[in-house]
Structures are given as C-alpha cells and as structure tokens.
C-alpha cells in the first residue's frame, strides 16, 4: 500500500524549497523613483490582437518605458549607508584605473570620446569621468559613481560613432538606474534568505540535496536578475541614440557582427541559464531590431558619424590589433580581421596583420600563407613599411635567402633609423 507521507515527502520538501526560493527572487529591491514594476518584462507586446498592436507597440510606449526624468544617479550617498560603502570601494578602484599602465592618454581620442559621452548623457555629463583603456575585448563599463571605462576592443569593433554610442548609452543606462547597488542589495537579500531557509529546511527534516537545489535556483535567480538589468540598459542605449538623432540600426548591427565574430572564432555564444549574466547575443540583436523598427520613423536624417569616428580611431588601430593578435587564439584573431576587412578601411594594414597572424602561428604552412597576405597588403592602401622586415623573416623560414635579402634591403631603405636597423644590417652580412 502506498504511504503518501513517506513517498511524497522528499518531493514536497523540494517543492517547498523551490517555492521559498521563488519568493526570494520576487523580493523588491528597488527604491522609490526607480522604475521597478516592469523590470524584465518585454516593452513590446506581441500577444495583443492585431488591431491593438500598433498602439501597444508605438514609439511613445518605448520612450516612456525608458524614461529618464525621475532618475537621480550619481548623488553621493551617506557614508554609513550600504551604497556609501560601495562608493568608497568603487572610488578606490577608480584611483587605480586612473594610473593604470594600459590607460590611453592621447588627448584627441579622450576628448572625442568624452564629447560623445557628454552628448548622450546631457545634464549628467559633468558627473561622468571617462577612462579609455587598452583591453583587447569588446566591452565598456560604468559604475554608479560616474566612472566609465571604454575598452580598445570596443573601439576596434565599432564601425562608426553611432555603434560606439549605443554601447556607451547602454553603460549610461546602468549608471542611470544604479544597477550596481541594486545587484548588491539583491545579493545580500538572497544570501540572508538562503541562511534562513537552510535552518528551516534542517528543522523540517528535509532530505539531503534540498539545500543544493535551493542554491541552484538562487544562482539562476541572480543571473536572471542580472540579465534583466542588461535588457534594461540595452533599452536606454537605444533611447540615447534616438534622443541624439543617431542611426538606430547601429545597435542591432553591432550585435549581429559580434555574434558572427564569435561563431567564426570557434567560441559561439552558448546560453546557460545558471551562468549567463547577459542575455544571449541573438536575443539582444532581435530585441534591438524590434525596438528600432518602432522608433526609426521618428528620425528624419539618422547620423552614423563614421568620418569623425574613423578620424579618431584609425591612428590607434594598429596598436589595438597587435594587442588582439598577441592575446587571442589564431581563429579569434582571424575572425576579427575578416570583419575589419569587410568594412574596407585601410586594407593594406589589415592584410599585413592577417599575414602576421599566420607567420606567428605554429602552423607549418604559416610562412607561405603569410607571404600571400603580405603581397596583397603591398598592393593595397595603408601597408606599413615594417612589412618588408616581416616578409623577409617569412622568406628566411622558407630558406629563400635571396628574397629575404631583397626585403631586408627594402626595409632599411624605408626605415633607416628603425631600432633594429643594425641588427638587420648584420643579418644582411650573414646572408651575403
């Protein structure tokens, strides 16, 4: 005969544990003045009847969802508050960033990026401090204190000012909504709840594994909360593009390219419910496309700002690419270079670096492949003079001494004062 009490006991305990966890996940961690009711809910509704969809999904709905009038970021909290402690830690981190060895101090580039940040942040501009850093990864970040980091990997991948502004606007969204303090409070509340639940489950005689299940559900809840913040920040990114007359298609275009780069680099974006702090790239691109469709009709002449952008980024691009090549696997470096080549700016430089990826690889066919790309670079605009030295090195690897000598000589003609000129001369002596 079935004994429901025993047979269903563990299941019931687990169910209670999960329910408790769900309650914790729903706890409100927002302050008045911050938009809280719709966090994570889709701004556009696809499930309404066709007759009501146009109204439900109008540009006004989108704009009001990402309103900024009632937000008060960057107001210094009392030191004894939890936010005050967070500010102290973040200010200490900012002090380190301000003297970091990888900080780019070029005035023209910093001035330009600060101008764009001021444009999108409007009245909050004086509260924002921008740090441009050489980090070969696609990212930027912003803290509630007003510190914004812009990484070289983002500057290299964005094709115009609108694309860069979309990402900076996203970070500005985190700042506006004070997501960092929200996350900290959520984390503390979840931790407290788990402690209470552990005691309660122990007293109730819950079976082994109940607590593990709760921890797993808690982790999923934390990540879901983080993803909601990212979705909200994406919305703000689009909002600031709209307010400043930028081309709204910039944002989905950037996400689509990032997805393409990752899949070509053999590191596709696998979504994991328990570890993903950001929504999947597909979701972001799709959502941004939908929102863009609603808002685009309101912008009469959308701006991309491509010329301005290239004028400031191109002087630094070679260094940014070298960082990527030095620190990324071959497939990732090639995937990035292919996308830059697709954009078609200063192709000689890009073909040269593609050759460099092959020459530096451990592949046996590396030197031959490199020579193909060096050749292509020399017939395109923007090939650097140092190419001849690397071409000579590839010939040396293939034991083609005569060709190597010719390339070394060309290198010395073009760069007679290069730091390794003496070394090249002694190499030429050996080749004679």
């Amino acid at each position: 005969m079935l004994k429901p009490g025993r047979r269903w006991g563990p299941f019931a305990h687990s169910l209670i544990a999960l329910t408790l966890c769900a309650c914790a996940n729903n706890s409100s961690q927002f302050e008045s003045g911050l938009r809280d009711a719709t966090l994570g809910a889709p701004v556009l509704s696809d499930d309404k009847p066709a007759s009501q969809q146009a109204e439900a999904n109008s540009a006004d709905v989108v704009l009001s969802a990402y309103g900024i009038s009632n937000l008060k970021p960057a107001e210094r909290p009392a030191l004894e508050s939890d936010e005050g402690g967070l500010w102290s830690a973040l200010e200490e981190h900012e002090r380190m960033v301000s003297v970091a060895g990888n900080r780019i101090t070029d005035e023209a580039l910093n001035g330009y990026i600060k101008d764009v940040v001021c444009k999108i942040s409007g009245p909050y501009c004086p509260q924002i401090r921008v740090y441009v850093l050489r980090v070969p990864d696609f990212n930027a970040n912003m803290s509630p204190t007003g510190k914004m980091e812009v990484w070289s990997g983002l500057l290299l991948r964005a094709r115009n000012e609108a694309e860069m502004a979309a990402v900076l606007g996203h970070e500005f969204g985190h700042f506006l909504r004070r997501h960092t303090i929200q996350t900290q409070r959520d984390s503390v509340a979840r931790g407290n709840f788990l402690q209470f639940a552990a005691v309660a489950l122990g007293l109730a005689g819950a079976p082994a594994g109940s607590m593990d299940m709760m921890r797993l559900a808690d982790l999923a809840g934390r990540m879901a909360y983080s993803r909601d913040h990212e979705r909200e920040a994406d919305g703000y990114g689009l909002r600031v593009l709209f307010d400043n007359g930028y081309d709204l298609t910039a944002s989905p275009a950037l996400w689509k390219r990032l997805k393409e780069e990752r899949s070509k680099a053999d590191s596709p974006d696998h979504f994991n419910l328990f570890t993903a702090s950001h929504p999947s790239i597909e979701e972001r691109a799709e959502e941004q496309t939908k929102l863009t469709e609603r808002l685009s009709s309101r912008i009469t002449s959308p701006q991309k700002g491509r010329e301005r952008y290239l004028e400031h980024i191109l002087p630094h691009r070679a260094g940014f690419i070298e960082d990527e090549i030095a620190r990324k696997p071959k497939a990732a470096a090639l995937a990035l270079l292919d996308l830059l080549i697709e954009d078609g700016v200063r192709l000689g430089e890009l073909y040269f670096y593609k050759g460099e990826v092959h020459r530096q690889s451990a592949d046996k066919k590396g030197p031959e492949e490199a020579l193909k790309w060096y050749g292509k670079a020399l017939t395109s605009e923007g090939a650097p003079s140092k190419l001849h030295k690397f071409k000579a090195l590839a010939h040396l690897r293939l034991e083609q001494k005569a060709q190597a000598r010719t390339e070394f000589e060309t290198y010395l003609q073009k760069m007679p004062k290069a730091p390794d000129a003496d070394l090249v001369r002694s190499q030429l002596e050996e080749l004679k």
Binding site: R134, R327, P419, L423, V424
Partner: protein, 188 residues
Amino acid sequence: MRYAAIFLSCLVLCSCTYYSLVEGRAKHTVNDTYVIRTESPWNARSLGSATILSQHGQNLDSLIFFRPTADGEAPLVINTEYGKKMPIFKKGTSFIELPDLMKSSLMAAGYDDVLIQRTENALMDGNKALRVDFTMKMRAGPLLKGFSMMSIKKDTLFTVMFMAEETTYFPMVAKDAESLVASVSLLK
C-alpha cells in the same frame, strides 16, 4: 608531541618564506643552467619555471632567469595561465626574430605598450647573443624599463631579462644587473 609541534611549526614557517638571500661577491648557480657572480646581495625566489632576483621587491626591479627553451616550447613563460597563447620558439629561429618573439611574449603575458628601443649584438659566455633594450607598462603599475640578453646554443634559447620601474629603480639597480648578466656562464 611537543617536539613534533615545534617541528611542524618550523616547517610551516619555512614554507611561508619564499625569498632567499643571494649573497654578494660570490658565485651561484641558477636554475641548474646559469652560473653567475654577484657583486651586491640579491633576494631570490622561484616562480613557475623561472628564478627571479630582486633588490627592492619583485614589482620594482627583477632580474629573471628563464629556463632554457627548446624547439616547440614557449619562451619567457613564468605563469602557466598565460601559456596557451604564448608564441613558440622554433628550431632554426634566427637572431633577427628574437626581438619580435620577446615582444609578442611580453604582450601575451599581459604587458602593454611594449616598445623595443634598441637591439645590439652581444656575447653570453662566449656565445653569440642579442641584447634588446625595451620599455613597457604594467596594467596596474608604473612604466618599466629593461633589457634582455638572449642566446641560442644547440637549438635551445637562453634568456635573462632585467626590468625595473623606469624613473627610480632602473637607475639604482641597472648597474648591478648589467655586471651580473655579464658574468653569466652556461652549464648546458
């Protein structure tokens, strides 16, 4: 029981002390590969496969003796976490390739703005060597200035590298480092 506890405590304390004194005006063997003569005292520690000597602390000045690098191995490897993207030393590598091998290795190890200032032919224990002077930046630290001495013997790369904070510590320690590097002889 009491002696066992004292012995254990000593063992624990010893394991905490990872720097050892390298006395001045003496001969020493480093990494079972390099024989050096010191003029001043240094502090030594092992890190990964390298041995580091320093006078004022590893982040301010360090003289690094890398393990000999054979064909297909990554040179300049200290921390294994950088190992997967480190460039490889290949048999038949010529001296003219060494500055770029060094630069890309340092970049892969996380240094920024690595600039080669000068290259010069030199000797290491009577073998042909290359001296490369460079500057670079640490992510969370000061501008570094340094030089490396690289030699290839029997298809194996030997590297000794000195780097120090540019303005204060390089001028203070470089002279000692130069004389120590000049004294290197190879056991292998």
